[in-house]
Symmetry: C2
Subunit: 356 residues, 2 copies
Amino acid sequence: MKIEGKDYKTIWLKDNCVKIIDQTKLPHKFVIKDLKTVKDAINSIKTMEVRGAPLIGATAAYGLVLSILENNDQSFLKKISEELINSRPTAINLKWAVHRMMKKIAGVNSDKILEIAINEAKEICEEDINFCKNIGLNGLKIIEEIYNKKKKPVNILTHCNAGWLATIDWGTATSPIYHAHKNGIPIHVWVDETRPRNQGANLTSYELNEEGIKNTIIADNTGGILMNRGEVDLCIVGTDRTLANGDVCNKIGTYLKALAAKDNNVPFYVALPSSTIDWETKNSKEIPIEERSSDELSEIEGVDQNGKIIKVRIYPQKSKSMNLAFDVTPAKYVTGLITEKGICEASENGLKELFK
Amino acid sequence: MKIEGKDYKTIWLKDNCVKIIDQTKLPHKFVIKDLKTVKDAINSIKTMEVRGAPLIGATAAYGLVLSILENNDQSFLKKISEELINSRPTAINLKWAVHRMMKKIAGVNSDKILEIAINEAKEICEEDINFCKNIGLNGLKIIEEIYNKKKKPVNILTHCNAGWLATIDWGTATSPIYHAHKNGIPIHVWVDETRPRNQGANLTSYELNEEGIKNTIIADNTGGILMNRGEVDLCIVGTDRTLANGDVCNKIGTYLKALAAKDNNVPFYVALPSSTIDWETKNSKEIPIEERSSDELSEIEGVDQNGKIIKVRIYPQKSKSMNLAFDVTPAKYVTGLITEKGICEASENGLKELFK
């Protein structure tokens, strides 16, 4: 997708160096950063320079490429693969991508290992782009149906950033929106700010602006009354891990919007590539919910009146704060899952039907 | 209640000047501000130097005292009373306090009018303090009951600031908490940050700190998963207007927490003095929901690393935002109303029983 009119992906390899868009600098600065070592890749995942389940997976895959450039010994790579998996706990794609890479390079001799790893990392990215494109084409049908009834701009609410910046291209939740826009359907997006890291404001609103899609940032508190007033036709969010039973783990606050959608009969869809499905975990209580630094709440970065980017403390000095990064939306509040293979019910049967 | 160990009320009269705590400066600075004219009072309500339904009512009452000092002509006062009522649309106490003052001074001759107005404004404040104290004693029973069963610290979630800073003293939602604390019940409060103006972080956490009550600030997105994990025993919030049918209009986001409480069987109480009941409006759709400047979302004040208080822009420059200040929680999601006269069901019958 576009930034200042120029096409980008979120990650690419050039001259044995992995290039990423440093997402902690957005929206105030657009910075392309070089990852030269696997430590850089791990750090980039931990500090959320890259974030979003699919992009975390791709970064881990390229992280393994970087580690092979350092040392292609299999036991070293095994150790690194564990470090990569542990760099963030909740998104399942990280584990998925690392396992896929490790399986591909297992036992490969040192002449070939780099080439095979690079090809597999590229393949993971290409596949994600295709999956996201198909999620868009499948989700487009839902938006078309609403538009054909309403004949007025379709209001879509989204939470956090499940945009192209969270994937390699297109995004998950945003892909149906981009496809609808390209097909001439008028769209307006309510963008949840998404405290504490404001990925809605900093990333989703930013990328929608760059693609010329109308959007309005709202406080995370606002979605309920908007739905109650009939100002939301549809919710679409992403997910960091969806269980085989249809329970959806996503950015903290998703659950509250799903409850409001249910209470007001607003359809609530979750968009995901199949790499985000956790087929093993049976109970959502077993999903590790990441707790991040409380500084992410008590400090915020912005632009002062001289145009300088600075960080300020916003809480009382004596106050404690707590920063859980995800919550779980029970399947019963999810209208459907939009995947690369089609739309299904958020249930074991629904998912099995699509992914036999 | 106390700030830095010293007892304060939120508003008082001294030498024909109304003193308030400028709440837009908290938590970074404690500033007492003089209101010398009724224009000052109106401005103070509009800019939220004073806020919270009961305190807005009291400020309007004192605003009329200030206007009498300028000009005690009844037609002038009538005009001013309308300006006061229109200074903010949603909280019902504003209208209630102004009507009560105007009724008291109607037709009073100019010798006596100032004294009568001062006495009535003081009476409104004294009554509010008593009401809030009784709300506390009534709500205390709910907390005691939980503590007697649990024998561990009681976790209470609150939204926005319905603390003593929103009233004259004690607060509404916080009054049961302060009373429980004074009675030796261990309490921990989850404080919703309450975007966009962060009254939870800036005011509730601040005032709880000053009273030595344990509290943790959380993003507004967090309450759902905390309730789901069993980490919230009870929610108590305030209200800007409660209809006779029990529907509760309060700070934006309250509705989402009420939905989560319902979904997780967490009791959800609303604390209010009877001055906050709107006996006339039949349907919550008729409540005017204030839309405030979008700058309150896109800009935020904090302390930089040199200790200087500055404002920064946090959103992408091209982005639009929208700032609704209140939402409505349907009575069916409210476990009970804690009033100065006792606790009742959030319904016409419940309220009529208490306030015949």
